[in-house]
Protein backbone atom coordinates (compact mmCIF):
# COMPACT_ATOMS: atom_id res chain seq x y z
CA UNK A 1 0.00 0.00 0.00
CA UNK A 2 1.14 3.52 -0.63
CA UNK A 3 -0.32 6.96 -0.78
CA UNK A 4 -0.82 6.96 -4.56
CA UNK A 5 -2.75 3.71 -4.35
CA UNK A 6 -4.86 5.00 -1.47
CA UNK A 7 -5.83 8.08 -3.43
CA UNK A 8 -6.76 5.93 -6.40
CA UNK A 9 -8.96 3.64 -4.32
CA UNK A 10 -10.62 6.56 -2.58
CA UNK A 11 -11.33 8.08 -5.97
CA UNK A 12 -12.73 4.86 -7.45
CA UNK A 13 -15.03 4.50 -4.50
CA UNK A 14 -16.26 8.09 -4.81
CA UNK A 15 -16.98 7.66 -8.51
CA UNK A 16 -18.80 4.40 -7.75
CA UNK A 17 -20.89 6.18 -5.12
CA UNK A 18 -21.97 8.87 -7.59
CA UNK A 19 -22.88 6.19 -10.11
CA UNK A 20 -24.85 4.29 -7.49
CA UNK A 21 -26.73 7.47 -6.59
CA UNK A 22 -27.16 8.28 -10.29
CA UNK A 23 -25.71 11.72 -9.73
CA UNK A 24 -22.52 11.32 -11.71
CA UNK A 25 -23.02 14.09 -14.26
CA UNK A 26 -24.46 16.42 -11.69
CA UNK A 27 -21.79 16.06 -9.01
CA UNK A 28 -18.59 14.88 -10.65
CA UNK A 29 -17.13 18.37 -11.11
CA UNK A 30 -17.06 18.86 -7.36
CA UNK A 31 -15.15 15.66 -6.73
CA UNK A 32 -11.59 17.01 -6.99
CA UNK A 33 -12.57 19.93 -4.76
CA UNK A 34 -14.03 17.66 -2.12
CA UNK A 35 -10.97 15.47 -2.10
CA UNK A 36 -8.58 18.39 -1.92
CA UNK A 37 -10.15 21.18 0.09
CA UNK A 38 -8.26 24.45 0.05
CA UNK A 39 -7.18 24.33 3.70
CA UNK A 40 -5.61 20.89 3.54
CA UNK A 41 -1.87 20.49 3.42
CA UNK A 42 -0.80 19.59 -0.08
CA UNK A 43 1.62 16.81 -0.96
CA UNK A 44 2.35 18.28 -4.35
CA UNK A 45 2.97 22.00 -4.79
CA UNK A 46 -0.59 23.17 -4.10
CA UNK A 47 -4.21 22.08 -4.01
CA UNK A 48 -4.81 23.31 -7.56
CA UNK A 49 -2.17 21.04 -8.97
CA UNK A 50 -3.59 18.15 -6.96
CA UNK A 51 -7.09 18.86 -8.19
CA UNK A 52 -5.89 18.89 -11.77
CA UNK A 53 -4.25 15.52 -11.22
CA UNK A 54 -7.46 14.18 -9.71
CA UNK A 55 -9.41 15.44 -12.67
CA UNK A 56 -7.32 13.46 -15.13
CA UNK A 57 -7.34 10.39 -12.91
CA UNK A 58 -11.11 10.64 -12.86
CA UNK A 59 -11.13 10.84 -16.64
CA UNK A 60 -9.46 7.43 -16.76
CA UNK A 61 -12.06 6.08 -14.35
CA UNK A 62 -14.74 7.36 -16.70
CA UNK A 63 -13.08 5.36 -19.47
CA UNK A 64 -11.10 8.06 -21.27
CA UNK A 65 -7.45 8.50 -22.08
CA UNK A 66 -5.91 11.80 -21.03
CA UNK A 67 -5.12 12.32 -24.69
CA UNK A 68 -8.85 12.33 -25.45
CA UNK A 69 -8.88 15.85 -24.08
CA UNK A 70 -9.01 18.48 -26.77
CA UNK A 71 -9.83 21.48 -24.61
CA UNK A 72 -8.44 21.85 -21.11
CA UNK A 73 -11.54 23.70 -19.98
CA UNK A 74 -13.86 20.79 -20.67
CA UNK A 75 -15.27 19.85 -17.27
CA UNK A 76 -15.56 16.29 -16.00
CA UNK A 77 -19.33 16.45 -16.24
CA UNK A 78 -19.04 16.62 -20.03
CA UNK A 79 -16.94 13.47 -20.03
CA UNK A 80 -19.33 11.84 -17.61
CA UNK A 81 -22.20 12.51 -19.96
CA UNK A 82 -20.25 11.17 -22.91
CA UNK A 83 -19.36 8.06 -20.90
CA UNK A 84 -22.98 7.42 -20.05
CA UNK A 85 -23.93 7.62 -23.72
CA UNK A 86 -20.96 5.65 -25.00
CA UNK A 87 -21.49 2.41 -26.88
CA UNK A 88 -19.07 -0.49 -26.88
CA UNK A 89 -18.03 0.28 -30.44
CA UNK A 90 -16.66 3.65 -29.39
CA UNK A 91 -14.20 2.06 -27.06
CA UNK A 92 -10.54 2.37 -28.04
CA UNK A 93 -7.95 -0.40 -27.60
CA UNK A 94 -5.55 1.69 -25.53
CA UNK A 95 -6.07 0.55 -21.93
CA UNK A 96 -3.46 2.55 -20.08
CA UNK A 97 -3.08 6.26 -19.91
CA UNK A 98 -0.33 8.45 -18.48
CA UNK A 99 -1.77 11.29 -16.45
CA UNK A 100 0.71 13.89 -17.66
CA UNK A 101 -0.22 16.32 -14.86
CA UNK A 102 0.77 13.64 -12.36
CA UNK A 103 3.96 12.49 -14.07
CA UNK A 104 6.75 14.26 -12.26
CA UNK A 105 8.95 13.76 -15.32
CA UNK A 106 11.30 12.23 -12.81
CA UNK A 107 14.61 13.04 -14.43
CA UNK A 108 15.46 14.00 -17.94
CA UNK A 109 18.57 11.87 -18.00
CA UNK A 110 19.66 9.02 -15.81
CA UNK A 111 23.05 10.40 -14.74
CA UNK A 112 23.58 13.09 -12.15
CA UNK A 113 26.61 14.44 -10.37
CA UNK A 114 26.48 14.01 -6.61
CA UNK A 115 28.35 16.18 -4.11
CA UNK A 116 31.06 13.56 -3.88
CA UNK A 117 32.57 15.28 -6.91
CA UNK A 118 36.00 16.73 -6.07
CA UNK A 119 36.44 18.64 -9.31
CA UNK A 120 39.66 16.70 -9.76
CA UNK A 121 42.40 17.90 -12.02
CA UNK A 122 42.33 14.92 -14.35
CA UNK A 123 38.64 15.42 -15.20
CA UNK A 124 38.17 11.90 -16.61
CA UNK A 125 34.41 12.41 -16.89
CA UNK A 126 34.88 15.31 -19.26
CA UNK A 127 37.19 13.30 -21.44
CA UNK A 128 34.98 10.22 -21.31
CA UNK A 129 31.90 12.05 -22.51
CA UNK A 130 31.50 11.69 -26.23
CA UNK A 131 28.78 14.32 -26.38
CA UNK A 132 30.70 17.16 -24.87
CA UNK A 133 28.04 17.44 -22.18
CA UNK A 134 30.29 17.90 -19.15
CA UNK A 135 31.92 21.05 -17.90
CA UNK A 136 33.77 21.33 -14.60
CA UNK A 137 33.99 24.43 -12.46
CA UNK A 138 33.85 23.89 -8.71
CA UNK A 139 31.98 20.70 -9.50
CA UNK A 140 31.23 18.70 -12.63
CA UNK A 141 28.10 19.76 -14.42
CA UNK A 142 26.12 17.74 -16.97
CA UNK A 143 24.29 19.65 -19.64
CA UNK A 144 20.96 17.83 -19.63
CA UNK A 145 20.23 18.81 -23.22
CA UNK A 146 23.38 17.21 -24.52
CA UNK A 147 23.44 14.14 -22.25
CA UNK A 148 22.26 10.91 -23.85
CA UNK A 149 22.38 8.77 -20.69
CA UNK A 150 25.20 6.58 -21.95
CA UNK A 151 26.87 6.28 -18.54
CA UNK A 152 30.48 6.64 -19.72
CA UNK A 153 31.11 9.44 -17.21
CA UNK A 154 29.97 7.26 -14.34
CA UNK A 155 32.41 4.56 -15.35
CA UNK A 156 35.21 7.10 -15.57
CA UNK A 157 34.88 8.84 -12.20
CA UNK A 158 37.37 7.50 -9.64
CA UNK A 159 35.30 8.91 -6.76
CA UNK A 160 32.02 7.27 -7.82
CA UNK A 161 30.61 10.76 -7.78
CA UNK A 162 28.31 10.28 -10.74
CA UNK A 163 25.27 8.24 -9.94
CA UNK A 164 22.66 6.45 -11.94
CA UNK A 165 19.18 7.56 -11.11
CA UNK A 166 16.54 5.17 -12.37
CA UNK A 167 13.21 6.20 -13.81
CA UNK A 168 10.87 3.77 -12.09
CA UNK A 169 8.37 3.22 -14.88
CA UNK A 170 10.97 2.88 -17.64
CA UNK A 171 13.03 0.61 -15.46
CA UNK A 172 10.08 -1.69 -14.84
CA UNK A 173 8.92 -1.97 -18.44
CA UNK A 174 10.23 -5.21 -19.91
CA UNK A 175 9.83 -4.06 -23.52
CA UNK A 176 10.84 -0.40 -23.54
CA UNK A 177 7.31 0.78 -24.30
CA UNK A 178 7.24 3.74 -21.94
CA UNK A 179 9.43 6.70 -22.81
CA UNK A 180 9.83 10.39 -22.24
CA UNK A 181 8.54 12.81 -24.83
CA UNK A 182 10.29 16.06 -25.64
CA UNK A 183 8.86 17.65 -22.49
CA UNK A 184 10.18 14.90 -20.27
CA UNK A 185 6.70 13.50 -19.70
CA UNK A 186 6.28 9.77 -20.06
CA UNK A 187 4.10 8.30 -22.76
CA UNK A 188 3.26 4.72 -23.66
CA UNK A 189 3.86 3.51 -27.18
CA UNK A 190 0.85 1.33 -27.82
CA UNK A 191 2.53 -0.52 -30.66
CA UNK A 192 5.01 -1.87 -28.10
CA UNK A 193 3.02 -2.05 -24.85
CA UNK A 194 2.05 -5.56 -23.77
CA UNK A 195 -0.23 -4.40 -20.94
CA UNK A 196 1.70 -6.14 -18.23
CA UNK A 197 0.87 -3.28 -15.85
CA UNK A 198 4.34 -3.19 -14.34
CA UNK A 199 4.82 0.54 -14.95
CA UNK A 200 1.54 1.28 -13.20
CA UNK A 201 2.75 -0.53 -10.09
CA UNK A 202 6.20 1.06 -10.30
CA UNK A 203 5.27 4.74 -10.67
CA UNK A 204 5.61 6.47 -7.28
CA UNK A 205 3.37 9.28 -8.46
CA UNK A 206 0.52 7.05 -9.51
CA UNK A 207 0.62 8.72 -12.90
CA UNK A 208 -0.37 5.68 -14.89
CA UNK A 209 -4.03 4.79 -14.83
CA UNK A 210 -6.15 2.06 -16.35
CA UNK A 211 -9.18 2.99 -18.30
CA UNK A 212 -12.25 1.76 -16.45
CA UNK A 213 -15.66 0.35 -17.32
CA UNK A 214 -17.26 1.41 -14.03
CA UNK A 215 -19.76 3.69 -15.75
CA UNK A 216 -20.98 0.97 -18.10
CA UNK A 217 -21.15 -1.70 -15.42
CA UNK A 218 -22.91 0.21 -12.67
CA UNK A 219 -25.32 1.88 -15.09
CA UNK A 220 -26.26 -1.49 -16.62
CA UNK A 221 -27.07 -2.82 -13.17
CA UNK A 222 -29.02 0.32 -12.31
CA UNK A 223 -31.01 -0.04 -15.51
CA UNK A 224 -32.10 -3.48 -14.34
CA UNK A 225 -30.11 -5.43 -16.90
CA UNK A 226 -28.90 -8.93 -16.20
CA UNK A 227 -25.21 -8.59 -15.40
CA UNK A 228 -23.11 -11.66 -14.64
CA UNK A 229 -19.77 -11.53 -12.82
CA UNK A 230 -17.13 -14.05 -13.84
CA UNK A 231 -14.50 -14.10 -11.13
CA UNK A 232 -10.86 -14.93 -11.84
CA UNK A 233 -9.47 -17.76 -9.71
CA UNK A 234 -7.15 -15.32 -7.92
CA UNK A 235 -10.14 -13.58 -6.34
CA UNK A 236 -10.38 -16.44 -3.84
CA UNK A 237 -7.33 -15.01 -2.07
CA UNK A 238 -8.19 -11.33 -2.13
CA UNK A 239 -10.28 -10.83 0.98
CA UNK A 240 -10.01 -12.55 4.32
CA UNK A 241 -13.21 -14.47 3.69
CA UNK A 242 -14.17 -17.64 1.87
CA UNK A 243 -15.41 -17.65 -1.70
CA UNK A 244 -19.01 -18.22 -0.58
CA UNK A 245 -19.09 -14.87 1.21
CA UNK A 246 -17.34 -13.22 -1.69
CA UNK A 247 -20.08 -14.37 -4.04
CA UNK A 248 -22.80 -13.00 -1.77
CA UNK A 249 -20.99 -9.68 -1.54
CA UNK A 250 -20.74 -9.41 -5.31
CA UNK A 251 -24.41 -10.25 -5.69
CA UNK A 252 -25.21 -7.47 -3.25
CA UNK A 253 -23.64 -5.07 -5.72
CA UNK A 254 -26.44 -6.06 -8.08
CA UNK A 255 -24.91 -8.81 -10.21
CA UNK A 256 -27.52 -11.41 -11.02
CA UNK A 257 -25.06 -14.27 -10.98
CA UNK A 258 -21.46 -14.96 -10.02
CA UNK A 259 -19.51 -17.65 -11.79
CA UNK A 260 -16.04 -18.91 -10.98
CA UNK A 261 -13.74 -18.70 -13.99
CA UNK A 262 -12.17 -21.88 -12.57
CA UNK A 263 -15.01 -23.55 -14.44
CA UNK A 264 -13.64 -22.29 -17.75
CA UNK A 265 -10.16 -23.21 -16.55
CA UNK A 266 -11.27 -26.83 -16.50
CA UNK A 267 -12.16 -26.52 -20.15
CA UNK A 268 -8.90 -24.77 -20.95
CA UNK A 269 -7.06 -27.66 -19.29
CA UNK A 270 -8.88 -30.23 -21.37
CA UNK A 271 -8.27 -28.47 -24.68
CA UNK A 272 -4.75 -27.42 -23.80
CA UNK A 273 -3.83 -31.01 -22.93
CA UNK A 274 -5.30 -32.32 -26.16
CA UNK A 275 -3.62 -29.62 -28.18
CA UNK A 276 -0.31 -30.40 -26.51
CA UNK A 277 -0.54 -34.11 -27.32
CA UNK A 278 -1.54 -33.38 -30.90
CA UNK A 279 1.34 -31.00 -31.42
CA UNK A 280 3.81 -33.45 -29.94
CA UNK A 281 2.48 -36.12 -32.27
CA UNK A 282 3.02 -33.77 -35.19
CA UNK A 283 6.60 -33.36 -34.08
CA UNK A 284 6.51 -29.84 -32.61
CA UNK A 285 9.48 -29.20 -30.30
CA UNK A 286 7.39 -27.47 -27.62
CA UNK A 287 4.22 -25.56 -26.83
CA UNK A 288 3.56 -22.62 -24.52
CA UNK A 289 0.44 -21.71 -22.56
CA UNK A 290 -1.74 -18.81 -23.67
CA UNK A 291 -3.93 -17.82 -20.73
CA UNK A 292 -1.85 -14.80 -19.71
CA UNK A 293 -2.73 -11.97 -22.12
CA UNK A 294 0.46 -10.03 -21.42
CA UNK A 295 2.43 -13.03 -22.65
CA UNK A 296 0.26 -13.32 -25.76
CA UNK A 297 0.71 -9.58 -26.36
CA UNK A 298 4.45 -9.98 -26.00
CA UNK A 299 4.51 -12.67 -28.66
CA UNK A 300 2.29 -10.69 -31.02
CA UNK A 301 4.20 -7.44 -30.68
CA UNK A 302 7.78 -8.50 -30.08
CA UNK A 303 8.33 -12.18 -30.82
CA UNK A 304 6.51 -13.20 -33.99
CA UNK A 305 8.88 -16.14 -34.36
CA UNK A 306 7.33 -17.63 -31.18
CA UNK A 307 3.79 -17.52 -32.55
CA UNK A 308 3.71 -21.06 -34.01
CA UNK A 309 4.50 -22.47 -30.57
CA UNK A 310 1.83 -20.69 -28.56
CA UNK A 311 -1.26 -22.71 -27.75
CA UNK A 312 -4.41 -21.68 -29.57
CA UNK A 313 -6.65 -22.83 -26.75
CA UNK A 314 -8.86 -20.01 -25.48
CA UNK A 315 -8.33 -18.73 -21.95
CA UNK A 316 -10.50 -19.71 -18.95
CA UNK A 317 -12.18 -16.31 -19.15
CA UNK A 318 -13.26 -16.95 -22.74
CA UNK A 319 -14.67 -20.42 -22.03
CA UNK A 320 -16.54 -19.11 -19.01
CA UNK A 321 -18.02 -16.26 -21.02
CA UNK A 322 -19.11 -18.63 -23.78
CA UNK A 323 -20.86 -20.75 -21.18
CA UNK A 324 -22.67 -17.72 -19.78
CA UNK A 325 -23.70 -16.40 -23.19
CA UNK A 326 -24.94 -19.85 -24.24
CA UNK A 327 -27.10 -20.22 -21.17
CA UNK A 328 -28.17 -16.61 -20.71
CA UNK A 329 -27.99 -14.95 -24.12
CA UNK A 330 -29.23 -11.62 -22.79
CA UNK A 331 -26.66 -11.42 -19.99
CA UNK A 332 -23.92 -8.81 -19.86
CA UNK A 333 -20.65 -10.51 -18.95
CA UNK A 334 -18.17 -8.83 -16.61
CA UNK A 335 -14.78 -10.35 -15.90
CA UNK A 336 -13.49 -9.68 -12.38
CA UNK A 337 -9.81 -9.27 -13.07
CA UNK A 338 -6.43 -9.21 -11.36
CA UNK A 339 -4.79 -7.13 -14.07
CA UNK A 340 -4.89 -4.64 -16.92
CA UNK A 341 -3.70 -7.32 -19.33
CA UNK A 342 -7.14 -8.87 -19.27
CA UNK A 343 -8.60 -5.57 -20.46
CA UNK A 344 -6.57 -5.92 -23.62
CA UNK A 345 -7.81 -9.49 -24.04
CA UNK A 346 -11.40 -8.42 -23.52
CA UNK A 347 -11.00 -5.89 -26.26
CA UNK A 348 -10.50 -8.75 -28.72
CA UNK A 349 -13.08 -11.07 -27.10
CA UNK A 350 -16.67 -10.43 -28.17
CA UNK A 351 -18.09 -12.77 -25.49
CA UNK A 352 -16.84 -10.60 -22.64
CA UNK A 353 -18.45 -7.21 -22.33
CA UNK A 354 -16.63 -5.49 -19.49
CA UNK A 355 -13.90 -5.83 -16.90
CA UNK A 356 -13.82 -4.77 -13.29
CA UNK A 357 -10.51 -5.11 -11.45
CA UNK A 358 -10.06 -6.52 -7.95
CA UNK A 359 -9.13 -3.06 -6.79
CA UNK A 360 -12.24 -1.53 -8.33
CA UNK A 361 -14.38 -4.26 -6.82
CA UNK A 362 -12.99 -3.59 -3.34
CA UNK A 363 -13.46 0.16 -3.72
CA UNK A 364 -17.00 -0.41 -4.94
CA UNK A 365 -17.78 -2.54 -1.86
CA UNK A 366 -16.46 0.37 0.14
CA UNK A 367 -18.77 2.79 -1.67
CA UNK A 368 -21.73 0.62 -0.87
CA UNK A 369 -20.66 -0.15 2.71
CA UNK A 370 -20.76 -3.84 1.99
CA UNK A 371 -18.80 -5.67 4.64
CA UNK A 372 -17.66 -8.91 3.03
CA UNK A 373 -16.93 -10.41 6.43
CA UNK A 374 -20.54 -10.10 7.46
CA UNK A 375 -21.97 -11.66 4.30
CA UNK A 376 -23.63 -15.06 4.33
CA UNK A 377 -21.85 -17.85 2.51
CA UNK A 378 -23.42 -18.59 -0.86
CA UNK A 379 -23.44 -22.04 -2.31
CA UNK A 380 -20.44 -22.96 -4.45
CA UNK A 381 -20.22 -24.82 -7.72
CA UNK A 382 -19.17 -28.33 -6.71
CA UNK A 383 -18.86 -29.52 -10.31
CA UNK A 384 -15.63 -27.58 -10.76
CA UNK A 385 -12.40 -29.54 -10.62
CA UNK A 386 -10.25 -27.61 -8.13
CA UNK A 387 -7.25 -27.75 -10.44
CA UNK A 388 -8.96 -24.89 -12.27
CA UNK A 389 -8.86 -22.82 -9.09
CA UNK A 390 -5.09 -23.21 -8.99
CA UNK A 391 -4.67 -21.28 -12.25
CA UNK A 392 -4.35 -18.31 -9.89
CA UNK A 393 -0.73 -18.97 -9.14
CA UNK A 394 2.36 -20.00 -11.00
CA UNK A 395 2.63 -23.65 -12.02
CA UNK A 396 -1.14 -24.00 -11.69
CA UNK A 397 -1.84 -24.43 -15.40
CA UNK A 398 1.06 -26.83 -15.76
CA UNK A 399 -0.06 -29.01 -12.86
CA UNK A 400 -3.62 -29.03 -14.08
CA UNK A 401 -2.58 -30.28 -17.52
CA UNK A 402 -0.30 -32.88 -15.95
CA UNK A 403 -3.16 -34.15 -13.83
CA UNK A 404 -5.32 -34.42 -16.90
CA UNK A 405 -3.09 -36.35 -19.30
CA UNK A 406 -2.55 -40.06 -19.11
CA UNK A 407 1.25 -39.92 -19.17
CA UNK A 408 2.35 -36.86 -17.20
CA UNK A 409 5.91 -38.12 -17.26
CA UNK A 410 6.03 -37.20 -20.95
CA UNK A 411 5.66 -33.53 -20.10
CA UNK A 412 9.02 -31.85 -19.66
CA UNK A 413 7.93 -28.68 -17.96
CA UNK A 414 9.40 -25.21 -17.88
CA UNK A 415 7.67 -22.57 -15.78
CA UNK A 416 8.36 -18.88 -16.39
CA UNK A 417 7.05 -16.90 -13.47
CA UNK A 418 7.35 -13.21 -14.27
CA UNK A 419 8.34 -11.42 -17.47
CA UNK A 420 11.35 -9.16 -17.43
CA UNK A 421 14.20 -8.44 -19.82
CA UNK A 422 16.07 -11.58 -18.74
CA UNK A 423 13.18 -14.01 -19.02
CA UNK A 424 12.23 -12.50 -22.37
CA UNK A 425 15.73 -13.23 -23.61
CA UNK A 426 15.43 -16.80 -22.33
CA UNK A 427 12.09 -17.24 -24.04
CA UNK A 428 13.49 -15.95 -27.32
CA UNK A 429 16.17 -18.60 -27.05
CA UNK A 430 13.54 -21.32 -26.77
CA UNK A 431 12.51 -20.73 -30.38
CA UNK A 432 15.87 -22.10 -31.46
CA UNK A 433 16.25 -24.73 -28.80
CA UNK A 434 13.95 -25.45 -25.90
CA UNK A 435 15.07 -27.64 -23.03
CA UNK A 436 11.48 -28.74 -22.33
CA UNK A 437 8.34 -29.44 -24.30
CA UNK A 438 5.70 -27.51 -22.37
CA UNK A 439 6.29 -23.93 -21.22
CA UNK A 440 3.97 -22.09 -18.86
CA UNK A 441 4.37 -18.33 -19.00
CA UNK A 442 2.89 -15.85 -16.54
CA UNK A 443 3.75 -12.18 -16.84
CA UNK A 444 3.49 -11.59 -13.10
CA UNK A 445 5.98 -13.20 -10.74
CA UNK A 446 4.03 -15.76 -8.79
CA UNK A 447 1.06 -15.65 -11.16
CA UNK A 448 -2.21 -13.76 -11.08
CA UNK A 449 -2.21 -13.48 -7.27
CA UNK A 450 0.45 -10.86 -7.97
CA UNK A 451 -1.39 -9.07 -10.78
CA UNK A 452 -1.13 -5.28 -10.99
CA UNK A 453 -4.63 -4.78 -9.52
CA UNK A 454 -4.60 -7.12 -6.55
CA UNK A 455 -5.43 -6.08 -3.01
CA UNK A 456 -4.02 -8.91 -0.93
CA UNK A 457 -0.41 -9.76 -0.25
CA UNK A 458 0.50 -12.33 -2.93
CA UNK A 459 1.95 -14.78 -0.44
CA UNK A 460 -1.12 -14.69 1.77
CA UNK A 461 -3.36 -14.92 -1.29
CA UNK A 462 -1.54 -17.96 -2.67
CA UNK A 463 -2.01 -19.82 0.59
CA UNK A 464 -5.67 -18.87 0.72
CA UNK A 465 -6.38 -19.93 -2.87
CA UNK A 466 -4.68 -23.22 -2.19
CA UNK A 467 -6.67 -23.83 0.98
CA UNK A 468 -9.86 -23.05 -0.88
CA UNK A 469 -8.96 -25.45 -3.70
CA UNK A 470 -8.17 -28.17 -1.17
CA UNK A 471 -11.31 -27.65 0.86
CA UNK A 472 -13.43 -28.01 -2.26
CA UNK A 473 -11.68 -31.25 -3.12
CA UNK A 474 -12.25 -32.67 0.34
CA UNK A 475 -15.85 -31.59 0.23
CA UNK A 476 -16.47 -33.98 -2.61
Amino acid sequence: MNNAKQIRRDLISRVARLLEDRTLVEKIDRLPLEMRPRNQKAIRCCCHKERAVLKYRTMALLGFNTSDETDELTPLSVYAKKAEERTKEQYTPVQLTVVDEACSSCVKNNYIVSNLCRACVARPCMYACKKDAITVTDKAFIDQDKCVSCGLCKEACPFHAIIYQPIPCEESCPVGAIKRNENGIEYIDDSKCIYCGKCMVACPFGAIMEKSFLVEIINSIKEGKKVVAMVAPALAGQFQVDMGKMITAIKELGFSDVIEVAKGANETTEHEAKEFLERMEEGAPFMTTSCCPAWVNLVNKHMPEMKPFVSETPSPMVYTARYVKANMPDAITVFVSPCVGKRSEVYRTPEVDYVVSFEELGSWFMARNIDVMKCESAELDTTINSDGRRFAYTNGVMQSVKNYVEHPEEIKDIVISGLDKATIRTLKGYVKSCPGNFVEVMSCAGGCVNGCDVIANPRVATRQVDNFAKSMEEGK
Partner: protein, 86 residues
Amino acid sequence: MKIEVKICMGTACYVMGGADLTTLADYLTPHQAECVDIKGIPCVDSCFDSKNKKPPFVLVGDVMISEANVNKVREEISRQIEELSL
Protein backbone atom coordinates in the same frame (compact mmCIF):
# COMPACT_ATOMS: atom_id res chain seq x y z
CA MET B 1 0.01 -10.80 29.77
CA LYS B 2 -0.15 -10.08 26.06
CA ILE B 3 -0.99 -6.89 24.23
CA GLU B 4 -3.95 -7.44 21.97
CA VAL B 5 -3.52 -6.18 18.43
CA LYS B 6 -6.81 -6.11 16.62
CA ILE B 7 -6.65 -5.34 12.94
CA CYS B 8 -9.91 -4.24 11.37
CA MET B 9 -10.63 -6.49 8.43
CA GLY B 10 -13.81 -4.68 7.43
CA THR B 11 -13.97 -3.73 3.78
CA ALA B 12 -12.96 -0.07 4.04
CA CYS B 13 -9.97 -0.77 6.26
CA TYR B 14 -8.91 -3.80 4.29
CA VAL B 15 -9.03 -2.08 0.90
CA MET B 16 -7.32 1.07 2.14
CA GLY B 17 -4.27 -0.80 3.38
CA GLY B 18 -5.37 -3.29 6.01
CA ALA B 19 -4.55 -6.07 3.55
CA ASP B 20 -0.87 -5.28 4.06
CA LEU B 21 -1.20 -5.80 7.79
CA THR B 22 -2.03 -9.48 7.36
CA THR B 23 1.71 -10.03 7.36
CA LEU B 24 2.36 -7.82 10.41
CA ALA B 25 3.82 -10.70 12.41
CA ASP B 26 6.66 -11.04 9.88
CA TYR B 27 7.86 -7.55 10.72
CA LEU B 28 8.06 -7.92 14.49
CA THR B 29 11.16 -8.79 16.48
CA PRO B 30 10.94 -12.16 18.25
CA HIS B 31 10.41 -10.34 21.54
CA GLN B 32 7.68 -8.12 20.15
CA ALA B 33 6.00 -11.14 18.61
CA GLU B 34 5.98 -12.86 21.99
CA CYS B 35 4.29 -9.91 23.63
CA VAL B 36 1.38 -9.56 21.26
CA ASP B 37 -1.68 -11.42 20.23
CA ILE B 38 -2.67 -10.41 16.70
CA LYS B 39 -6.07 -10.99 15.23
CA GLY B 40 -8.33 -9.71 12.48
CA ILE B 41 -11.71 -8.41 13.54
CA PRO B 42 -14.82 -7.32 11.62
CA CYS B 43 -15.57 -3.64 10.96
CA VAL B 44 -15.27 -1.58 14.13
CA ASP B 45 -17.58 1.06 12.67
CA SER B 46 -14.96 3.78 12.74
CA CYS B 47 -15.08 4.04 8.99
CA PHE B 48 -18.56 5.54 9.13
CA ASP B 49 -18.07 8.38 11.58
CA SER B 50 -14.55 9.27 10.60
CA LYS B 51 -14.37 13.03 10.81
CA ASN B 52 -10.68 13.44 10.44
CA LYS B 53 -9.59 9.88 10.93
CA LYS B 54 -9.19 7.55 8.04
CA PRO B 55 -8.99 3.77 7.59
CA PRO B 56 -7.27 1.39 8.07
CA PHE B 57 -7.88 1.18 11.81
CA VAL B 58 -5.90 -0.98 14.21
CA LEU B 59 -6.42 -1.32 17.94
CA VAL B 60 -3.24 -1.87 19.95
CA GLY B 61 -4.33 -2.49 23.53
CA ASP B 62 -6.87 0.31 23.79
CA VAL B 63 -5.09 2.74 21.55
CA MET B 64 -6.83 3.20 18.23
CA ILE B 65 -4.50 3.88 15.32
CA SER B 66 -5.93 5.40 12.16
CA GLU B 67 -4.30 5.32 8.73
CA ALA B 68 -2.41 2.40 10.14
CA ASN B 69 0.56 0.80 8.49
CA VAL B 70 3.18 -1.66 9.65
CA ASN B 71 5.47 1.07 10.97
CA LYS B 72 2.86 2.90 13.00
CA VAL B 73 1.59 -0.29 14.56
CA ARG B 74 5.06 -1.53 15.34
CA GLU B 75 5.95 1.73 17.03
CA GLU B 76 2.87 1.62 19.21
CA ILE B 77 3.60 -2.00 20.14
CA SER B 78 7.12 -1.19 21.25
CA ARG B 79 5.89 1.86 23.16
CA GLN B 80 3.43 -0.26 25.08
CA ILE B 81 5.95 -3.01 25.69
CA GLU B 82 8.18 -0.44 27.30
CA GLU B 83 5.36 1.12 29.28
CA LEU B 84 4.26 -2.23 30.65
CA SER B 85 7.89 -3.34 30.93
CA LEU B 86 7.14 -6.65 29.28
